[in-house]
Symmetry: C2
Subunit: 599 residues, 2 copies
């Protein structure tokens, strides 16, 4: 029988259990200083000797006895009596007690002369001025910064005892193949353990990835036993789904005991935690975004309680660009793109599917909806944890609407100018509302090229706003068929598909209407299909045009002078972008197309 998650543990409770049940193993290792950056000190570090070890000269010049320089004046220069030439950093020779800078002297008959007496101790760095032997340099629990390395080396410390947590990561699943293999039908590239290794290493853990273990209770048991013996924590990847491949649960239940199975968190619900010989075994969900939540919120929290120091992530208080619903009782994490529009930072959510990794790749942060909330309203202030440097937000451009693949190239062009283009998918209505609420830098709308589409679908919602419309690309739609369409028998034409684009759908409906064609019931064998001119050409089919869709960038005039938005407009209008469109067989926004012909 498949297992069910009848008792979902609330996230805060799950974390409290984890913390209580698994105290820090307190492991430390000694590493050479050069490898210590980013590691956390396990013991306090003390200076081995004083720096400087003795009194030293602060400048190039002459070591003198200050008493012998008394009386030197501008009007009454004095030759130096006893002196020694010293360079910056050299130990002050006995019996001198001051340094005269070389710039403050001149030679006459080979003897340096001065115009000013030297005070005792002048231009001398006292022994121990920087640090005294035995003085504390770094307390325990300190994350070593790059510049700490120089100080530690200076104070004679060449090895450091740092905290260490060993994480064993075990991928399980007969369908998994390693990265670099071309996956066959029903096979999946094993990627979650790579991601886990990258994330947990960044959090200061010492990770060890094991080979893929097929769905076999004996083999999984063996792998878990080995990993538990060699590590402080074990992560099983894809071992917590409720399907027929759910062998991991039985294995860890048998080896130790289940602490919890299922947390009230989205994504990431199917997490499993077991205790095997006093060590935690964490079963990570197979869906990558769910796995990320578990790595971040569960494994990451444990590493932090165990004294490792995660790479800091910036936080930003922003406004939510559109309402987000959320189920009561579930802590939820939502990837968002944050951008600053006209002085206000807005977070636009990406899709929440736990298999949609691109949402996280496209996002520059994520927000947290606590279990007690049924959702967050549009315009509400929320705190976003950033996955990019905070400073990059001011150079982020958020476009809402049609995510035409050509926007990727725009992103590349903008990256050259130092901007980050974030495209968030939305319908035309969604894009227009974002423009209205000023939550995005630009909207991308795809409209049929008819007399009224712009007025009907855009302008009527923004009557008082001056808009700038920048054509991005045009797509010609039509009917593709093996043989030329017979004008005489159009009425009986059966079209195989309904186009995905609303604009193409509108064009099709208008054409059918214009030609007096009845829509045939679905499921009936078809003579023709709706597609773009490019698709028809690539498929070698005859093509009857039904009209064009225009994908435009729409910008509020008042913001068009904004440096980032100006760069965006420039990129769209650039010869590079036009050349790119032609290279992929697309028509640029002004209709200039590379040899697209209608049948």
């Amino acid at each position: 029988m498949p297992h069910r998650y009848l008792n979902l543990t609330p996230l805060p409770e799950a974390l409290a259990i984890l913390r209580r049940e698994f105290p820090s193993p307190g492991r430390a290792e000694s590493v050479p200083l050069r490898e210590a950056v980013g590691r956390v000190t396990a013991e306090p570090l003390y200076a081995r000797y004083s720096v400087p070890v003795a009194d030293i000269a602060k400048f190039d010049g002459y070591a003198v006895k200050s008493g012998e320089t008394r009386g030197a004046q501008d009007q009454r220069p004095l030759p130096l009596a006893g002196y020694a030439r010293v360079n910056t950093g050299e130990v002050l020779p006995q019996p001198f007690d001051a340094v005269v800078m070389i710039e403050d002297t001149w030679d006459e008959d080979g003897i340096p002369r001065i115009r000013k007496s030297a005070a005792p101790g002048q231009h001398i760095r006292r022994a121990g001025e920087d640090v005294r032997a035995g003085e504390l340099v770094l307390p325990k629990g300190h994350r070593i910064r790059p510049f700490d390395i120089g100080a530690l080396a200076t104070y004679g410390i060449d090895r450091v005892s740092v905290r260490s947590v060993r994480v064993g990561i075990v991928p399980t699943g007969s369908d998994l193949v390693p990265l670099g293999t071309a996956p066959g039908p029903g096979q999946t590239i094993e990627t979650n353990t790579l991601m886990a290794e990258a994330y947990l290493t960044g959090n200061g853990a010492t990770c060890r990835r094991y080979g893929i273990v097929p769905d076999d209770t004996g083999l999984i048991r063996e792998a878990v036993e080995t990993a538990i013996a060699e590590n402080d924590i074990v992560i099983l990847s894809a071992g917590s789904s409720a399907g027929t491949r759910d062998f991991s649960r039985d294995v860890v239940e048998d080896l130790g005991g289940i602490v919890f199975h299922g947390i009230a968190v989205r994504p990431g619900k199917t997490v499993l935690l077991a205790n095997v010989g006093g060590k935690p075994v964490l079963g990570m969900p197979g869906y990558p975004v769910a796995a990320q939540t578990v790595l971040r919120e569960v494994a990451g929290s444990l590493l932090s309680w165990w004294g490792l120091s995660p790479v800091p992530c910036g936080e930003l208080d922003v406004r939510l660009a559109r309402r987000l619903a959320s189920d009561l009782g579930f802590d939820e994490f939502v990837p968002v793109s944050v951008g600053r529009v006209d002085g206000t930072c807005w977070a636009t959510p990406h899709p929440r599917g736990s298999g949609i990794q691109m949402a996280v790749v496209r996002a520059n942060g994520y927000l947290y909806i606590p279990a007690g909330r049924e959702g967050i309203e549009e315009g509400e202030e929320v705190r976003v944890r950033l996955t990019v440097p905070p400073a990059s937000i001011t150079r982020t451009l958020v476009c809402v609407g049609r995510r035409d693949p050509v926007l990727g190239e725009l992103g590349n062009l903008l990256a050259e100018a130092g901007y980050h283009l974030h495209c968030c998918n939305a319908s035309t209505v969604g894009a227009v509302l974002a423009l209205q609420a000023k939550t995005c830098h630009a909207a991308t709308v795809a409209l049929p090229e008819t007399a009224s589409a712009w007025d009907d679908q855009v302008l009527r919602y923004l009557p008082d706003v001056d808009l700038l419309r920048v054509p991005v690309a045009r797509t010609e739609f039509g009917i593709a068929s093996a043989d030329p369409l017979d004008p005489g028998s159009l009425a009986s034409l059966r079209v195989a598909n309904r186009p995905k684009s609303a604009a193409a759908q509108f064009l099709l409906d208008s054409w059918l209407d214009r030609e007096g064609i009845d829509v045939s019931p679905s499921g009936v064998p078809a003579d023709a299909r709706v597609c773009s001119a490019l698709e028809a050409r690539e498929a070698g089919l005859r093509f009857t045009s039904i009209g064009c869709e225009s994908c435009d960038l729409v910008i509020r005039e008042e913001l068009a002078a904004d440096e980032g938005i100006a760069a965006l407009i420039e990129a769209v209008r650039s010869p590079e972008f036009c050349a790119y469109l032609h290279s992929i067989g697309r028509a640029s926004g002004d209709g200039d197309a590379p040899g697209v012909s209608s049948a």
Copy 2:
């Protein structure tokens, strides 16, 4: 003749020259995906195939034809006609078009039954739902995050072309010895190149450290030529002082040309920039804090213009705890400790000596005083760049006043409780003023144990503040001598030194006064010296007590309940701290001392 820095280039101008003169070498290298975290993409990355490749089941259950499930109702369950068992992630077999979750079925006579019809496409992940083949995954110039690794692997990308800058780091100086060597007289451990390597590697550069080159024009020339041939930028360490060891300047002047020598920045003034064969050679000052400025502001800026992405540093707007003077015309950087006291963040400056690395180790950030400012006033808002995670500031405790070495152990005890203790040196007056202005969590004052010291030196400045005084440690001072002091000849006693501690000085003066001893002129041979009982004991000398100094923690009563301050008080009063004091032969604040005896 030694070189002078007659024409200091302003920092902004120096950076503009650097950027103009040295465009990005545009180097890229291909690395395996696992090594790509933190690197910056040199080319855009596109998905190799669609994910999912085909329509797949979202849940464990049965693949069905949706048409055949029509009519199933709670009151009229339906056995499934044609179906196939599928697990989460499996490709949907032909000719099915929907999935029924196993939880929504039950078996009867081996045939699964349903109570609800399935909609077409139900519980199916469509091919390309996550990403479509050829779609842009990451634009160029993107710093790869740990979770990006999972997505890239999923989309078939197993190698990545990333930007690369090769930095050659050459230490020069006959006085230098490598880390791990015990430095002899006049020798210095070579540490700046280690620090440079740690810092620039963290900024994404590929560093190569060369061996120490002694002060020899020919050898330096050879080293520079090799490094220039093998790298995109060369950093010469300690090659820019104006002393007799200044060979580097001559070498790079000869090999190419000096771009500038000397920048109006503190610390870091003596930086040298040369152009050798179109590549920059940066001469870094020998003083470590000056070297840090040059690494951060000059080398770091160049790497960032060349498209590398530094580890983000947090910024915080805080108030300056005490006035900082600064010379007009110099950009200046000052290490500070930031802490939040009663809701306001304050930055307390550390000493600015360019040889005082401990100031940077102790600090958690630094602030920038632009060249146009003559200083920053106390209480003025300033922006601090943090060298620690921003979140750690709320767990930072700032103590101002006497930096007794025993505070190091307090820091260790507080680290256990998750707090960071920052001790900033100040006189008793400075500490009291910080307490008055509420810019610190606690003051540490060292007072002679007399009837009036507390009133005179603390209370009179804080008449309206309720204070809590927590004894930290006591030190007994006295006169150490080889033979017992003769009470009859005390009047002719010659004391060798004046104590550094103001409290001990006060005790000495009172004692001399009490005993009717005239202060002897300095420089006269001495019979005795002032020191602590511990020092006398360790030196095996006779000891005549002159009184005790008490080092106390002083806290505003109103803040004593603050969680962090409570932890600090608890640490001072803990048995662990008392045991520590005894272990080093110090007396605890309440006078409990480990066998200190007066002569």
